[in-house]
Amino acid sequence: MYLIKKNDILQIAKALSTEYQVYGPVIEPGSGQTFFEKVDDVSEINLSAPIPAAPPKHIVFPQADRILSYRYAGGNAPVEMKPDFKETPKALFGLRSCDLTGLQCLDRFFLGQEFVDEVYRSLRKKMFIVTNTCVAPFKYCFCVCTDSGPAAEEGYDLNLTDIGDNFLIEAGSAKGKALCEKLQLAKAADKDLAEKNRLVDKSITLFESFSTESKAWVSRVMNRITTGFAKEEVWEYVGDQCFECGACSFVCPSCSCFNVVDTATGDCSCDRLRTWDSCSYEGYSRMAGGHNPRKPVEDRRNKRFFCKLSYSQSKKYLRPGCVGCGRCDWVCPGDIGMPNVVKYIRRETTSRDQL
């Protein structure tokens, strides 16, 4: 454990920038919206910025990514094929705990199963992760319900906590420790850790009531979804409100579904793109020949929540698929963000006046 003066915190980012492309929370000046993006200069990073509008998923899993390009002129001409892997060392500076958890879910999906996804691996390799403890939650946050915050517990190289005049720095890896030693940071005392723990405990008390109320219910709803005890009518109620925009999947730190398309670029050349996909789309589960096992929208919605909350899916991630960031709630044109769906299942009501 180390300490650094609050005003000096970006020195760590600066040190990282010699070896890594640095990404961090940046506030877009016109709109006040926070993005987690690559910075040209570490001074752009704002550690007190609100939770980024989008998770850092796009860094390891871009919205539309060329993974291969090929050229075939026809006849006996050989097919020229070039995989397009991008392996650049990256430092994610100031990641929120929910987003680190999301990244771990993606790791387990893309790297932790029978097949390793080489495209993902190339983007995920050589990464230095610096997390930032949320000493106060944001409006939509409910990570206290999903065991993913407000402070990161594992998976980081360094974890920062704003404890007043200083940041407490916890090293979570040899790499992280080496950087602190190199920068000759002051050692922290037990009281500094105690102060961090006090702040985290306080942060937990500051969550909105929908979040604190749902705490026990998220696990109970997991049980109901797994055992099939969520009522059909609830899914219909949820399905009626789905605008099939795909936003919930796109902003979800752990959603990993993708579509692969070949797109002609002229001159007998083709780019193979991997793009984000969403289970809310009808075409997502449509099979060749027209059969669609999840054609009605309520079946597709049911799939999303099954994926995020059922036990069998949790085995894939070694935790629930939901990380409690609340983004699906504010991007949803309907009213079916995760906390609301938990509420609907919990109340088991479908009539409008009862809700």
Partner: protein, 669 residues
């Protein structure tokens, strides 16, 4: 790799987004969290707009058709051909078809090019009937030729009427605002013949007989009068012409209303009561290529006027434009009889102002719209300039083939190019600054994000080059100067500039003038000290009725899998897959019928049937659905080619677009 703010350019909602651009490609798109209209939401189209913007199916250089084949040409060569051809013709033989997708600056310059350079008033958008009708009613009734309410105030309305619009599919974020208002306690009433998503989300859904929307609205108005639910103070102090409207309703009998709409008078009474008891209320209906007819809009307008729901906070009669800059197109005067800002060519002072500013003598005889010119026989149209257009115009293929010269100006390739004699490319909208005016009069600046590809010219520059070749002295340094000219000549845009728009996150709603330098959120009758005039109504409700030979009423509508001819959707991956899913299941189109009808006909899903109408017949697959009532049938708009073929010789029916109701019988094949 910075996030650059911008405006989504699919529908008329005008959602805010951010784009991350690298080189010539858009890497990603993300909703704008604090945008006043979209508040962090986008629909399936908006989330995937980068797929369209990155498509390789763009027009990359000028093309001139020689011996039936397009050959590459230089801008000089192509512009010279265009100018020489147009100049050699009498102005009345030249037509300009503006695009509701172009920026305001491009629309204004096209209008100026037509009137001031080529001396013709034959300039129009393709939605003569739809949005223009709304603007006529609203302009006559309130003096404001645009939505009287504001999308930002939907959350303040206690009562929301959705009239015949599949709004969650057409303008999803407007639909979302309506739904979220309902979740917070507002009452939604939907009147439609088909059970749409918004119908499922409504507190009350009046599933009317196809073709009976106007009568249903009149029925509610009648109940308002009968049950003494009129806002008398408002009617007395702020309106004119109520007696005439009220008198027209007395001719309606309750029996007729119920018989023709299929809805009991009790249900209408309940809606009338809820509307008049609510402190605030808004009406929504689609307006676009095929929106409601003027008479139906008049009834909606009058219903809201008599209940005091216009010109106040949380209130309004709100036409929702289907395409991003349709409102802007009319604002910029792309209509045969209008100058910018809904100033009429018959307004001498306005014409004088334009004459002085442009150094010309404008022809003040209104022109004709391109659809009128194409419908003429024998046609006098010899040359047609078409900007970025959907393929819908191809339904006039026979008329188009008779036009000697067609120039097509667009960013993306489409089938319309086949009809053109020359093609000129314009840059993608993200390659130049430009403003768009959404459905609630919100003018937003979409800043330039990258350089045009293949050295293609942006619209304002192309139109300037054409004007200069034709001998005019245009000297705009960029779109900002065009906006300055728009502001000088257009009272509703008087205080707008790119500088102001760049500094105002989320845009400015017109009128933006000396009195309202920050724009005007909504019509404010009290502040304006003005009054509302009731619209004239026909009192005629004769509609197509089902009979012995043709027992079902067919309606035509926009299915979810179809969005404005799909020309743009076809150039994407995810939206194309979504929008084509139904097409793949039903490649030859389908007719949707209720389970009762299917049982009576003894047909099952995907079986082929013959749909016979008095005008013609067509073969379609059956789709059984709970969303249509017995004795009704629905054909999605995407089967338009099939419908058009079946209706050949009956353009009057086809022209009614989504409002067309056709008595049919269905025969098992």
């Amino acid at each position: 790799m910075k996030q650059q703010p911008g405006v989504c350019t699919f529908c008329g909602t005008g959602c805010g987004h951010f784009m991350q651009v690298t080189g010539t490609a858009v890497e990603r798109v993300f909703p704008s969290q604090n945008h006043p209209v979209s508040k962090g939401r986008l629909c399936v189209r908006g989330w995937n707009i980068h797929e369209l913007l990155n498509t390789a199916q763009t027009i990359n250089r000028p093309l001139i058709k020689k011996n039936g084949q397009f050959a590459d040409a230089s801008y000089e060569e192509a512009i010279a051909l265009l100018v020489d051809t147009l100049k050699a013709l009498p102005p009345a033989a030249v037509g300009f078809l503006a695009s509701p997708r172009s920026t305001n600056e491009e629309q204004f310059l096209l209008m100026k090019l037509a009137r001031a350079v080529f001396k013709t008033n034959n300039v129009s958008l393709s939605s003569d009937a739809g949005h223009r009708g709304c603007l006529n009613i609203l302009s006559r009734g309130t003096g404001m030729a645009g939505m009287t309410g504001s999308l930002e105030e939907i959350c303040k309305a206690e009562f929301l009427l959705v009239a015949g619009s599949d709004i969650t599919k057409q303008n999803p974020i407007v639909g979302s605002e309506i739904h979220l208002a309902a979740q917070a306690g507002a009452k939604i009433v939907t009147i439609d013949s088909r059970r749409t998503q918004i119908a499922k989300l409504s507190n009350s859904f009046l599933q009317i007989t196809p073709g009976a929307l106007k009568l249903a609205v009149a029925g509610i108005a009648k109940c308002v009068v009968q049950d003494g639910l009129i806002d008398s103070d408002f009617v007395r102090s702020s309106t004119k012409g109520f007696e005439e409207f009220s008198a027209s309703l007395t001719q309606l009998s309750e029996q007729e209303i119920t018989a023709k709409t299929g809805i009991s008078i009790e249900e209408f009474k309940q809606v009338a009561k809820a509307l008049s008891q609510a402190k605030t209320a808004m009406a929504f209906f689609s307006s676009g290529i095929s929106g409601l007819d003027e008479d139906t809009i008049s009834y909606i307008f009058n219903l809201f006027a008599m209940t005091g729901k216009i010109g106040k906070e949380g209130c309004g009669v709100n036409p929702i434009t289907g395409i991003n800059n349709l409102q802007g197109g009319y604002d910029m005067g792309c209509a045969p009889d209008l100058l910018s800002g809904f100033q009429s060519l018959s307004d001498q002072a306005a014409v004088k102002k334009f004459n002085a500013a442009w150094g010309v003598e404008l022809n003040i005889t209104p022109g004709r719209s391109v659809s009128e010119l194409l419908a003429e026989s024998p046609g006098q149209l010899k040359a047609l300039v078409v900007i970025d257009h959907d393929e819908g115009l191809i339904r006039d293929a026979a008329a188009l083939q008779k036009v000697d010269f067609i120039a097509y100006i667009s960013t993306y390739k489409n089938k319309f190019m086949d009809y053109a004699h020359m093609v000129l490319p314009v840059a993608r909208y993200i390659a130049e600054d430009g403003t768009f005016t959404n459905t609630d009069r919100r003018v937003q600046l979409s800043p330039k994000k990258l350089e045009p590809q293949h050295n293609v010219l942006p619209g304002w520059k192309l139109f300037s080059r054409i004007a200069e070749k034709a001998g005019a002295k245009w000297s705009y340094a960029g779109p900002a100067e065009v906006m300055d000219e728009i502001a000088r000549l257009t009272p509703t845009y008087a205080k707008l500039s790119h500088k102001k728009l760049a500094a105002t996150f989320g845009g400015v709603q017109w009128p933006c003038d000396e009195k309202n330098p920050d724009g005007t959120r909504r019509l404010d009758i009290k502040a304006a000290g003005s009054s509302i005039s009731f619209a004239k109504v026909s009192g005629a409700f004769a509609g197509p009725a089902a009979g012995k030979d043709f027992p079902y009423l067919l309606m035509i509508g926009k299915a979810q899998d179809f969005w404005h001819q799909n020309n743009l959707m076809r150039k994407t991956f995810i939206p194309m897959r979504e929008y084509n899913a139904t097409l793949l299941d039903y490649p030859e189109g389908y007719v949707e019928i209720g389970p009762d009808t299917a049982k009576a006909l003894q047909v099952r899903n995907q079986w082929q049937v013959k749909v016979v109408s008095p005008y013609g017949e067509m073969l379609l697959a059956v789709k059984i659905s709970d969303d249509v009532k017995s004795h009704a049938a629905y054909v999605p708009y995407f089967a338009r080619d099939i419908i058009a073929k079946a209706l050949t010789g009956h353009p009057e029916i086809l022209k009614q677009g989504e409002d067309a109701t056709i008595p049919i019988r269905i025969e098992k094949v």
